[in-house]
């Protein structure tokens, strides 16, 4: 991988990180809003937490690496 490709790859991965952060922020504010208007919405709040976990585990923790034969070419 040459320097230009490396820089492009890094920028792409940084932008995925930004997208996940925005999603997490929106969902967290959404949780706060849901809790402010309703009292018995525990199931919905746990579903939102599961959705947030999905993004973190997939994009930040890279769970896919656990099942890959070879190390990713970063």
């Amino acid at each position: 991988m040459d320097l230009e490709q490396l820089e492009t790859s890094k920028k792409e991965k940084f932008s995925i990180g930004v997208t996940v952060l925005i999603l997490l922020a929106v969902l967290t504010i959404g949780e706060f809003g849901i809790a402010s208007v309703g009292r018995n919405l525990g199931t919905i709040l746990m579903l939102v937490a599961l959705l947030k976990t999905f993004f973190v585990v997939r994009d930040y923790m890279h769970i896919g690496r656990l099942f890959s034969e070879e190390e990713e070419t970063e």
Binding site: V18, A25, S36
Partner: protein
Amino acid sequence: MTTEMDSMPVRPASDLASYRHRLGINRLGLWLFLLSDLFMFGGLMVARAALWGNTRPELNMKLGLLVTSILLASSFFMNRAETAMAHGDRKEFYRDILVTMGLGLVFLVGVVGFEWRIAPFKPSDNVYGAVFYMMTGMHALHVLSGIIFLGIVGNNARRGHYSAERYWAVEAAAVYWHFVDVVWIFFYPALYLIGTVVK
């Protein structure tokens, strides 16, 4: 005949292949450790559900939202630090790992320094106090150990222990940090949002 070359450390061509093989085993080990840790946090969630039911104590919801946002932001910077190391960008790595540690410390101050002080109960007062301090305390302990872990990794990086090809410790520290974040993703609604407030 022994030459100078014979006494030099040998790094055979298969060294990287061997490293990658060990990497797979290391990853499996780390995830199994996290799974075992998850049982403990899962137990705390079950205790919360059983003892609080559909109620919760009167906590500062805005402070809860603030510390949650700080921890989520720290995960973002940890991801940046790992990506930077994977691309050989050490400057960015140091900057991001320092920000991550700083945000982790702010989270700790928010929970242990402020929330514990303003909470309307003590650990021994009632089930609300017992569960609240147990959940936040165990989580705070993990945040603290994560900060120490990041400090060690940052220091080792400064001494040149990692490269774009070999940065397992950075990856492990990142995965651990995100795990602590995931736990809080469930603790936040369980402590601050779900149920009717009991005064």
